[in-house]
Amino acid sequence: MMNCKEISRLASERFDRELGLLERMRFRMHVLMCHHCRRYARQLAFLRRAIRRLAAARATRGPRLSAEARARIARRLDTATQDPR
């Protein structure tokens, strides 16, 4: 019998690796009977969906280079460009 702490681990690991047949059976049986683990597993699945959306959105918006960093990098690149290699 796996305890809730172990099941919570499987609720996460099923996103990272293929669970074995026995693990899958134990997981399913457990969440069928245990509403705490069922809720936890459902919330992790929700989290994953939210992260997917965040990852897609983050590609185009979010933090930007500060003006200082931008100027510093520009100066550095400028120096390097003028260096005849």
Binding site: R39, Q43, S66
Partner: protein, 229 residues
Amino acid sequence: MNAAAMAPSATGRQTVEVLSFIDPSRTIGSIETARTCTTMADSLSDPATWLEHYGDALYRYALGRLRDPSRAEDAVQDALLAALQARDSFRGGSTEQTWLTGILRHKILDQLRAQGRAAERETDTADEDELERLHFAGTGSWQQPAGRWNDPEGALGEQQFFINLEHCIEELPERLGQAFMLKEFDGLAGAEIGQTLGVTSNNVWVMLSRARMRIRNCLEHTWFGRATR
């Protein structure tokens, strides 16, 4: 400087690829954007324009992985300098942004590897995790179970929710956060993350589980807690 080599900047919406972290030539999706920075290139545009066009995107990429603004800025600079050196090797067929991101990715993985070798590994996967200890009794059954969430689907429609979510990710301990980003934002497998961070795959799974548990808990307190209590 050859001004004629500047990328033509079209206006209007266009599609930007979401790059795979494993193989930058592969895309894992695409998004519509109003930005004008991607052009399929046979030759590179003037390096002087790289910073202007791709600086923010490269910075976000670096910040997500390195989690430190000044290190992220340095990584962008290093990558652009390396790109400058390697610009003769650009073969075309991919976008400039893809090419630059690939160079940046290498710089970042090098940094993370160096850091992984230096890090104290036992703290990542110590048997005791404070949040696990809070949630579970010694027997492994819940003593402080996950709370009920009110309308999670509705949260997905709110921009503020995603800002909250980003804060929760930022609050992760450094290496849990790195493992989480490499997995969820870059799609790396456990073995690759393990190699980068200097731990076994098994430890990576433990770290990811703890990262998710923390984010879940953080969301419950900062977002869902408002509605349910």
